[in-house]
Symmetry: C2
Subunit: 409 residues, 2 copies
């Protein structure tokens, strides 16, 4: 059978997630991996989750083992609403403003389904989280790639591009700007309040939506919190949250917060995608949040991440200060720092050398849509030990030197 | 903000699932509902699932609380493979032939994404499971609606339609035939072995795939099992299974079984849709299957369903034998029977009268794509008690009589 001529245009054009392919060697003996963005399983509150699981299956089996509503568990919504009020200063969110999804990835996917056609435009960071692009790309929209700076997306360039679209009479095809404003993936940088305000204003001026993806907001280990874009423009902002980084990824629970008309559209489409998010993991997360201030509990974990981040920045300083043209970002939270090398460095090309040297990173190329930059890499500091971080960065320096030498020859 | 001009073509055309809307009154006091297709929660093995949940979270938290692979838990695949061998006579299935999905609904959705474009054709039953159509419709394909008979889809008409497509030079746009061959939803009928063989042969002759959706196969309470279409043509058949009817729906676990090239395409697309199915519910189901022969355990439940089916058919006979032109199917398993009324009856139009009489069904109209028939209804016999079934059918007869009298006036 010739399968190729059975495939849809989506399937023909889709490529496997490059990170998943590259990091298959992450568990090889002796390997130090700065690759994945997965949390440390030792931070999961397993004893209590185990107890809660037993209880909610025994006592609430009519809910936890049965089909649920497409919109999601109201107990979870109540608990999450409280968390939003207490820790994010987001008030007034109702059931109709929330939809529970199978992780944030489903939320991103629904956004593509509900908002994008082939004729549509959307704006994303340059670099950008590749999971978002993977979801949006299945709709074949046109991407505006807006450079990222140390204080977030370059809003001047965004406005220039919007003005151009306006002049060309295409602004009604522009649907949304996608941002991870706090501790961006991959770059680790945070959008300033001033830029958030300007983005919120531009949304009104040019009549578009803002997708505010916030998986890392609760992982701030230094500096002061900045108000969410949702708070600045709740009517036009679709806020995405997930339990993957604050509780555990295995539950696959994300929450979309947006105005009720948008949520209603998402719910109708979600019926066709998977009917509902698993009821068991929703109720488990709800019970846990009812009993615990999870954000308070995370403090020791964040202290650990902060010290590992410091170790990594120190190691980068020690190893790379004498190599011209190397720089890196200084995250105040989240899981990543972003290295930039001189333009002749191609970090994907260099990856084989890194594997040989038993150190892994994610080549920057993975985080661009069309206008690819090859001289970056993403490093995650949350999983390796302090010693591994120091040793890993040493290996990395060696890899770069060997690579540059080979290039020169 | 004008949301309408932000929406994609998919979102503009999508409608909410009619069953979910109609059945919102199912829990009203005194209501007898033949509406939903949900299993009785008392049949879920809650005590043991509670214990297993505690164990797999405490002891296997590095798996059950963490991200999983897109392809799914190999332990679940092993356990399911054994079930397939023992109870379905399906041998030789490997990991690469299986993908774990968020319920069968996600499997149906992935089929649409991977196989269908706007220019594509697919064939479905008339009537057809509306969840499948809801998923496929998001891809805007053309549907061939093939009449259903008491022994399954009319294969002669299918072949006629394929021949016509061939003559028109469009057969290369024909992607698949979708069937629920065993205890079809909504009609409860089962495709004969002869028709299965003819369908499997046609797939080779006209080079298409067969989507064999099998949620109810394990719910046979009388008659003899018929080999699955997958066994007759494994290369071209995409077999969908779910744990929703044999274990519990709350886990949201489905399994696609197909040739490895197809599974690989599904996996790549699933990365963008939700990264992975929840690890916790996968491992829970795996452990349960390792310890229990679930199909054996279901026997008392099936005995109950059989007796309720008998009660329903008897009640239908008692109440409707004197009303000309009423008939119904005689299922050997599954959850549904399908009533046909004289053509002047519009069961959606009659629904308000039914609500007044405190009895609910699903209007047949929900189960057609374009060529709608209004004179059918789906009745589920699995949840109401024997007395409720008898009383409900009495009410139904009253509803029909009142409706027909009003029409005549």
């Amino acid at each position: 059978m010739n399968l190729e001529n059975k495939l849809s245009s989506i399937s023909k054009s889709a490529k496997s997630n490059i990170i998943r392919e590259l990091l298959k060697v992450a568990n090889d003996p002796g390997m130090i991996s700065f690759g994945g963005g997965v949390p440390d399983p030792e931070t999961f509150p397993r004893e209590e989750l185990a107890q809660i699981a037993k209880e909610v299956i025994e006592e609430e089996y009519k809910f936890t083992l049965q089909y649920g509503t497409t919109e999601g568990d109201n107990e979870l919504k109540d608990a999450y609403k409280e968390l939003l009020e207490k820790h994010e200063g987001i008030e007034g969110v109702q059931y109709d403003n929330m939809l529970v999804t199978v992780g944030s990835q489903e939320a991103l996917y629904l956004i593509g389904l509900v908002l994008l056609d082939e004729s549509s435009y959307c704006a994303v960071g340059k670099p950008v989280y590749l999971g978002a692009v993977g979801a949006f790309k299945q709709r074949f929209p046109k991407f505006l790639e807006i450079p990222l700076e140390d204080d977030g997306m370059n809003i001047n360039i965004l406005e220039e591009r919007l003005t151009t679209l306006s002049k060309e009479g295409k602004i009604d095809k522009f649907k949304f700007v996608y941002v991870v404003p706090t501790f961006q993936n991959p770059a680790g940088v945070t959008m300033s309040l001033e830029k958030r305000k300007r983005l919120a204003e531009l949304a009104d001026k040019y009549d578009f939506l803002i997708v505010e993806d916030n998986p890392y907001g609760a992982l701030r280990f230094e500096g002061s919190p900045i108000p969410s874009i949702y708070n600045l423009n709740p009517e036009r902002t679709i806020l995405l949250n997930t339990f993957s980084k604050i509780l555990c990824p295995g539950f696959r629970i994300g929450i979309i917060i947006a105005n009720e008309n948008i949520i209603r559209k998402f719910s109708i489409i979600k019926q066709g995608v998977n009917l509902c998010t698993p009821t068991l993991t929703q109720r488990l997360a709800a019970r846990y949040l009812q009993k615990h201030d999870r954000i308070e509990e995370l403090k020791p974990t964040l202290e650990l991440y902060r010290s590992k981040k410091d170790t990594m920045l120190e190691a980068l300083e020690n190893e790379f200060r004498n190599i011209q043209g190397v720089s890196w970002t200084r995250p105040e939270g989240g899981l990543f720092t972003w290295l930039t090398f001189p333009e002749e460095v191609d970090t994907l090309d260099m990856f084989e050398e890194a594997k040989k040297n038993k150190v892994l990173y994610v080549p920057g190329e993975a985080f661009y849509v069309n206008e690819v930059e090859k001289n970056h890499m993403r490093l995650s500091f949350c999983l390796p030990s302090h010693d591994e971080i120091r040793e890993g960065v040493r290996r990395l320096k060696n890899v770069v030197e060997v690579y540059l030498n080979k290039k020169t020859i």
